[in-house]
Amino acid sequence: MTELLTTPQAKELHRKFVEDVMGMPSGEKINICQQCGTCTGSCPTSYLMDFGPREVIAAFRAGMIDKVVQSNTIWLCTSCYYCTVRCPAGIKITDLMYELKRLAIKYDLAPKQSKNPAMTKYFIDSVHKHGRNHEVEMMARFMLLKDWSLPFKFWQLGLKLFAAGRMPLTARNIRGKDELEKISAYLEAQEAKAQ
């Protein structure tokens, strides 16, 4: 099964994926996937994915998880959970997608053209900075750095929202905002210790 696990990185990703997934509650259910396709058929965005949810599991079994991590698949998951609630094998596929996102970010393997990792990053930055996600700031940053075309696409809507007071320009910080960074730092340290 693992003849495809040629590169050290592929081996490492496979190992980490197995370790993490088997650590999840009922993570071992991934073993009993019937490849029935209910997940992919239910997925609102699978038609765009390099690997549909079903193929993600097939690829994992073929020792190709590294290919999946580098694919666009995981950045197209909208976390709608259709696959998870419909899976006849009880596999928590949405959680698998999160796991793959984590691997992609951890090993910096996200496809460069994909905007989602950046969006994720700005979201977290914003939360760390203010304690809450300041939508306007996040979007502004995203547009400036990632997608120049957006402001032009959205100017009409933007104006309407602004007029309606639905786009406040200044952010309010929470008192305990530094707590969030501390929490992340603590968990990062713990993880480091574990390895």
Binding site: G23, P25, P44, T45, L48, W75, L76, T78, S79, C80, Y81, Y82, T84, V85, R86, K92, Y98, E99, R102, I105, S114, K115, N116, M119, T120, F123, I124, V127, G131, R132, N133, H134, E135, V136, M139, F142, L150, K153, L157, K160, L161, A164, R166, M167, P168, R172, I174, R175, G176, K177, E179, L180, K182, I183, S184, A185, Y186, L187, Q190, E191
Partner: protein, 291 residues
Amino acid sequence: MKYLYYPGCSAEATGKAYDASSRAMMDKLGVELVELDDWNCCGATSYFSVRELDSFAIAARNLAIAQEMGDDELCVICNACYTTLAKTNRYMAEDPHVFEAVQGALGAVGRSYDGNVKVRHVVDILINDIGVEAIAERVTRRLTGLRVAPYYGCQFSRPMGSFDDVQVPTTMDRLFEAMGADVITEFDAKTDCCGGMMMLTREDAALRLCHELLVAARQYRADVIVAACPLCEMNLEGYQPRVNKAYGTDFNIPVMYFTQLAGLALGADPKQLAIDKQVVSCASVLAAIPA
């Protein structure tokens, strides 16, 4: 009645109207919403992408505060916040490893959480605590004849389905039926995905999903779509022009937060409900229901 209340980040921006209308509606029902002190972002789906434990710990900070405030229930209006917070509880209960880690992380900032604060979606509270009968009694402006398409979105009852059916939720249907509306119970797309955050990163994909939803709403002759999530509402309402542009359609279907429409039925002032803050005009809706 009194509930500890978690507005969520959108409530301060695009989702202002959801926050305002929730408070106004609850007020009409004699329920006080006490805002959670110094709450932080639930982490939404983004944190899951960094370290799963981060998302749980970040979310748990809010639950810890609720515990500190001596409450064992937390009312949430945003589907994403609801799922993230509830999922945190579930995983803390299911997985001792998660429980430990979260405790440790909270400990690092001088907090602690035992996992006993029940996360309640506002719809859950309306249906199961207040009850449709009690609500029906307080209706002053019946929604007679109004074709309402309740749009639950993804994370309303998925994945947990703790207070409503995972695949075919009906709680909002029951709510608006009690208010005399002509509810489209068979609304096929009621839990389909609106595209969520993808509207910014893969607009084509998100527009396609919104288009499918709007087609379904039109097929069922909906006068209004009511949503229970800021992102759903934003995408379905705000992006209708973009959908029309992309698909050569002429959709102009009013989309409201369900709390706005419910608020109207309960006699709240449209201003309080921030109905004028909608992008697609709700005039047709207001006109359709006798004051």
